[in-house]
Amino acid sequence: MRILKPVLTLLAAVALLSSGTACTPEQPPTPTPDDPELPESCALVLRVGTTRDFKSTSKFADYWYGVLSNLTTHDSLIKLGPDMLPTPWLARDWTISDDSMTFTFTIAENATWHDGTPLTPRDVQFSIEYYRDRDPQAGWMQEIIESVSVDGNDVVLQLTRPYGNLLTEFMTYSIVPEHIWADVEKPLEYQGTDRVIGSGPFTFVSWDAAAGKYVFDANEDYFQGVPNISRVEFHVYRTMDALVMALSRGEVDTWWDYSGEFPYTHVPPLQDSGEIDFATATFLGVPAALGFNLDEGPTVDFDFRKAITLAINYDQIANLVYAGYGTAPTYGFVPPTHPHFNDDVPRIIYDKEQAAALLDSLGYVDSNGDGLREGQDGRNLRLTLLTRGDMPGTLRVTEMVAADLRAVGIDSNVRALDSSTWVATKDAKDYDLVFFRATPWGTMMHASHGSGYFDSRRTGAGVLHNLDAAEYLDACDARLSTALPEEQERLDRELQQLHYEYLPGIALVWIESLYPYREGWNDWTIDHIYGGVVNSFSWFTVTAD
């Protein structure tokens, strides 16, 4: 008993001490004021659930917060409208010279920063130069932009060469205040609390890392008018399951994800709850795509690639993995939501017999009767399928393709890797077939229509850069260097046709995307790029009962 007492005391002390650790209120990484009370009368609060992994309030360093800030606290010059056309935003108007070398943006006169300072064309000029010089993601600007100048209310960009995609690119770069960033050498490491100040429809209120919650309040002085919502909160959940539970329990009102599709597997419980409605829109990106190694291996042969595309059961993928919300794609890669969609490019069909015949004609036959085809060297045909291990949907698709290939006598070795290893392996061209996905923005980057994924001159984490045919590269260059709508349309259609002719990769499915929200919320606007119902346009259209 004598020894028991001190030991118990010790244990109790440890218990107290450790609960003490929890007692110390957390210092948020950014000092934030306590959430101010909202006036009762106009308290329309939208709570948004997301599974994106936010870490901070730095729009430069935290990729996902950067995206979020473009929706809330910051404005870009133009935005992609619901009609897929460039829409005026901070730039109320713009002109492009005939040679596509000079872009002139007229800046809205009444915009102000959240700290009260007026937003001037000089801020715009500073922002573009700042991105060009300091942001690793904006490296392309160094090559393209010759000079930026201010002329009254106009900001004039002089380019080094014709660049047709500038408007699209500028949809994602938001304007930042010069008086805050001018002295910041390393935007990635800047810790100042004023890094959250922008000119957008919402002002930053707080970020609580432990609670996983951002709060933004409506900007009463917004130059486009006051948003319909007085406060928007973003709640971060680590798993989709937790998010769906939160949705059905009413902890959040809707779901947001940049360029992601809501998992169909999680839809029925929400439908059953009877309190959730869904908005629908054709997804702009490609949720599951297949690329080929064009440098070595059997996939170098066009007919072999063609045979593979014939061997895959696209309807099964659409039905099982995408719950029937998917459709079989065309060889043109991007879905019909894209402007200048080329419906002359044929649909991909599933035809096992034709695939088998094609493989037979290439000399891949099963001579030893083990159900697998052998190559000329007598060894079994075994393809390396590179896929993402951290994405269950992609894995399911990979499994199905592997099974489909087996059905035509092709063995496969599936390598499911995490994103970083996937990138390294992909860049080393250490695969025969590679599974990837194209985000809505991704399909629009570079020369648009998915060309950013295939052009061999590009580098990047998510792109294949596997096609180096001169005809294709020329088409990309031509498309990049014109801002003329008719010319762009012609080249857009050509690029889709070239995807068919060279077959660097195919979409495996196109899908209808679902966006859940609680009943009682109405009049959403759907934005294809920024993720469904939660976007810059909805702030001004959405209403609640």
Binding site: T265, G389, P392, G393, T398, A416
Partner: protein, 279 residues
Amino acid sequence: MRLASHVKTNRLAMVGMIILWVFILGAVFAQLLMPHDPWRHFVPFMSPSVTHVLGTDDVGRDIFSELILGARVSLTVGFMAGLIAVGIGVLVGLLAGFRRGYLDEILMGLTDVVLVIPALPLVILVSVYLGPGIWYTILVIGLVFWPSTARVIRSQVLSVRQSGYVESARALGAGDGWLMRRHVLPNVLPLILAKFVLTVAAAMLMEASLSFLGLGDPMAKSWGMMLHYAFARGGFIREMWWWYVPPGVCISLCILSLTLISFSIEEGSDPRLRRALDR
């Protein structure tokens, strides 16, 4: 062997043995027992019925068939990883305990190092490096789980080594190899067995954890991978308990039976082992 008879007389161990054998037989005769081809697609998200005892998963595969196939994968991972870990552990433990001196210091230093590195993060880290693949998983788990065996075996070897009969045999002129083969090894065997059984359980649990985090081999359907899919593909949120409960129950039962067996081996052998196994 006295050990075998002891296991036989111990009721709990018998229960453990029976459960384990059911799983082992299920794994061996999976081809015969599976009612459907586990790769065939039926209608997704079906509830249990006569044709599909445990319903179907998100891509319409028969869950019961997957469960049987899962026994094969999970047990393979557990036993192979256990074999590697105990193999290394026994080798290191025997060497360190028998040779003593500098070799002992070095080996035990190494053991301490590996022992102190938190296993799960290390396994995650190395798994990410190697990429998923069932053999990588086995190798990694095997390479991480040996130190406790090495320590226990070493201390047991030390005590056997100091025993009168080893001393006598040495006085008879027996060399190190002889002592190891004839006296040390037979006397640490029950301990090795108990450690092996426990390591198999730990390896199965580790594999399940890795799979849960999405680091398992997606093409080898273990129980952990089934759970991963059940959670990642809506089984959980759709309250399909027939999907996410059975694999968990199978893992738990396997580990339970292995634990019971190892406890019984411990009790049945030298009482000194009990203390040795505490560490």
